[in-house]
Amino acid sequence: MSEMDRDSRGGRAGGAKREGGDKAGGRRGFFRRRRVCKFCVEKIDYINYKDVKMIAPFIPERGKIQPRRISGVCATHQRALQTAIKRARQIALVPYVTD
């Protein structure tokens, strides 16, 4: 029972993903580019907290950390990025909040 449940859920999730991928271009009229992890593309192994230029694109106006559903960063790099941003905040390289 539970196994079947899991199976069906897995199937549905897979289907939804594929469908989303197909639709990504034309959904709601605006073109959404395929998001790729910047750090994977540029082969950056270590996200340095001292390098404000590297982490600044992931800190929007408000000063929050940009979620990965928006920036497209992969999970591994988002974790590293999170650490880097939090360190940079401590030494006032990037803000905690901006009002």
């Binding site: 192994d45 030494i91 006032a92």
Partner: protein, 161 residues
Amino acid sequence: MSIRRHMSNVRQYELVYIAPAETTEEALAELHSQVVAVVDRFGGNIEKTENWGRRRLAYEIAGQREGVYVLEVINGPAALNAELDRRLRVLDVVIRHMIVRVDEELAIAERARARRKAATTARRVRRGLPPEPTESERQRRAEEDDDADGGMEQMFRGGDR
């Protein structure tokens, strides 16, 4: 595992501290010598010192909008970290400091780099190319438009091997 074994007592730390913008050169030198004294006492060594100079702070610290940043890369035992942290917290000249252990993450990054390099080499060898991208290939990638001739030549030469 092997990393943990040989890094058991000497670790690498990065210390960043911020002094108020109006701090004189002498005061900064004095501060640096204090750090050096602590590091020496614990048998560590300072690998690198970088003065970033005056920078705007992202937010106000101790009524300051600007500060002088100094980075020190230190090798030493864990006790050194604790003592340095305590000292810096007491000092008034330092308005903010942070000590971060970096050896482990740098090792991880280094391993990732090595793994990628190995994968690239293996892939290239499977395709019958020389293991390292040659000079002409690198140039081609940089320019990315003309000079297809050199690339073809390279491929043929690779195939012969």
